[in-house]
Amino acid sequence: MIKQDINKLEEKSIFIIREAKTRFNNIAALWSMGKDSTAMLAIARNAFLGKIPFPVIHIDNGIDFPESYKFRDDLADRWGMEVIVAKSKIKPEISGYSCCGANKTVALKGVLKEYGFEALIVSIRRDEHAVRAKERYVSPRDKNFSWNYKDQPAEVWDSYSSKLDKRGHLRIHPLLDWNEIDIWSYIKRNRIPINPLYMSNNGYRYRSLGCTHCTVPIRSNAKSIDAIIRELETTKVEERSGREQDKEKAYIMEKLRSLGYM
């Protein structure tokens, strides 16, 4: 995994986050309490001199890890963030692919309808998944949340789309250029608080965090951020290898995303 220049990456992310805030009145960010969206919030604090000027949405299906809930409440307090909790209900008869689609996306639709957000900051990265690698920095969704990936708007130089459908919204992706290892380098340098589940416990740690039902830990002895960075320098294993929903069948990520998943 290639380590990039985190100063340069941060500058571009700041530019994109500021563009979103400047061009749209009503925006919000998604926060899963994972490493990427937490790093994004730290960048947003730098972009706006310490105070995040938009609400942060946690899509809560009620089965996130207890550590994640505590982490959310502590950091929201410390950074003075306005957190909107969008509750979704897990149905025991639905699992995996359908679960993410049915729960997270439905809850997100509810919160967007209630608050009328025009743009949502989502912390996906190109190196996570070949389908996410096809994304734009600013990507329109229609009123049904569909991602029309076969006809994405042009995005030339640093001129981003403003193609906002009636009742649709834009997804803003300020972390698209970052690699997993860059996120950890940034967390280390800026001493960003991090969900404890990423650290090894009895020989296992979470490398990518979803909910308790479909995330499994990887074998790892990395108990510090330095150790995680060392692990990533040599790994040949995919980051989302512990995410069950990615594996069920072919083109699953593409289908999930075209229906509105992150």
Binding site: F15, K21, L49, A130, V156
Partner: protein, 408 residues
């Protein structure tokens, strides 16, 4: 240690092997996980094809089934101390907006030309080269691909080189800024090692050529201060102007000239990445406290050093490329702001010859030299002088219909 990444865009006609080449380089440099390779193998098998390295990039169902690239994607490799980010782009004519989206920020390009009997140099090959030159790409490696289909013939290779040279010089590429290499991307000939099947080729394999290019010195850049204002944050006493220093550096206490108004303001405080700083450098996003308010939110204003006379214009001489339909009335977006304008064609430019054409209007998928007239002043400079201030996009409604650069 972090690595400087060289962004390299692929160029070329559909099916000449752009995705396959990147897939091959990912594999030859061990830059991709076994899981992704296994997945690409499984998908190839499921579709009843031989293994396609391009499936490491072409991830959409429609792309794999149709064996085409629909949208741009990126993949990174590290090789002999240099790092590259390859930008894969579609080669289909109707997908040119996706090609431009991918290629617009690249520092150099890899052009794929298939040596196969009925393929060779096609219109789209030339159109991509024209666009690359227009968007500021100076160096190109031309990969003459599918050499296996022509029995590794030196004659066929030379035929393609000879056929392309006049066009390259027509669109302005210097002879020594273009390198040709014969390859077979699928079989890995001349990719990481010199191919024994092409003993007549005396040059280096592709990856070594890329390493050489990455080590070439780039111009150190212009020292002129230019800051593009993005808007404001906060309100009242806490109001700050945000923007990006695109060249030169900015100091606390310095007076700057704001264009197009020509007003002068003093920089009282500078914040970079959330912290107070005395100086901001090129590439940094700043939040500024000024000694007085400026009208509106400042978006689109350009700040220069106090001794600079500043530039502004209501009429621009430009080179444009039409992605969609461009009429006489349009909008251009420059420094983040859209302006109504009229676009008058001076002469068309046929992107497949590089030569002038006597058309009555701007044609789709072709270029033109134009004069753009605006109602208000905007702040632009020739592209050759400032990348950021010398480029603009053309819009009709919510669609981006073209790109342009300001002539010197």
């Amino acid at each position: 240690m972090s690595t400087m990444i060289n962004e390299v865009t692929l160029l070329g006609h559909k099916d000449h092997g752009k995705s396959t080449l990147i897939g091959r380089m990912l594999m030859d440099t061990h830059s991709v996980s076994k899981a992704r390779i296994d997945n690409a193998k499984m998908m190839s098998k499921r579709l009843g094809r031989k293994f396609e390295p391009g499936f490491l990039l072409d991830s959409f169902e429609e792309e794999q089934e149709g064996a085409l690239t629909i949208d741009t994607t990126r993949a990174q490799i590290k090789y002999r101390g240099s790092a590259f980010e390859f930008i894969d782009v579609p080669g289909h004519e109707e997908l040119i907006k996706n090609m431009i989206s991918g290629a617009s920020n690249a520092s150099f390009a890899l052009l794929m030309v298939s040596a196969k009997g009925d393929e060779g140099v096609e219109d789209q090959t030339k159109r991509h080269l024209f666009l690359a030159k227009m968007m500021g790409i100076e160096s190109i490696i031309v990969c003459v691909n599918k050499m296996d289909t022509v029995d590794y013939s030196e004659r066929r290779f030379e035929e393609i080189v000879g056929g392309l040279r006049p066009f390259l010089s027509n669109v302005g590429f210097a002879r020594n800024s273009v390198i040709f290499v014969p390859v077979s991307a699928y079989d890995s000939d001349n990719i990481s090692r010199r191919s024994e099947r092409m003993g007549w080729y005396r040059g280096k394999p592709l990856l070594d050529l890329l390493v050489d290019l990455s080590k070439r010195r780039r111009s150190s850049g212009d020292k002129t201060l230019r800051i593009i204002f993005q808007g404001v944050m906060g309100a009242g006493d806490d109001l700050k102007y945000i923007g990006r220093v695109v060249s030169g550096s900015l100091n606390e206490g310095e007076q700057i000239v704001l264009m197009p108004t020509g007003k002068r303001v003093m920089i009282e405080r500078i914040f970079v990445k959330g912290r107070a700083k005395q100086t901001a450098r090129s590439g940094e996003n700043v939040a500024l406290v000024l000694d007085r308010h400026i009208a509106g939110d400042g978006r689109g204003i350009v700040g220069y050093g106090s001794r600079h006379r500043g530039v502004r214009s209501k009429s621009i001489d430009a080179l444009i490329f039409a992605i969609g339909r461009i009429g006489v009335r349009a909008k251009i977006r420059s420094n983040g702001v859209e302006h109504q304008c009229s676009i008058k064609l001076v002469n068309g430019i046929d992107t497949t010859t590089g030569g002038a054409a006597a058309w009555s209007g701007v044609r789709e998928l072709e270029a033109g030299r134009v004069v753009i007239n605006l109602n208000d002043y905007i702040c632009v400079e020739p592209f050759a002088k400032s990348r950021e201030l010398g480029r603009f996009t053309i819009h009709s409604g919510k669609e981006l219909v073209g790109i342009g650069i300001v002539n010197g």
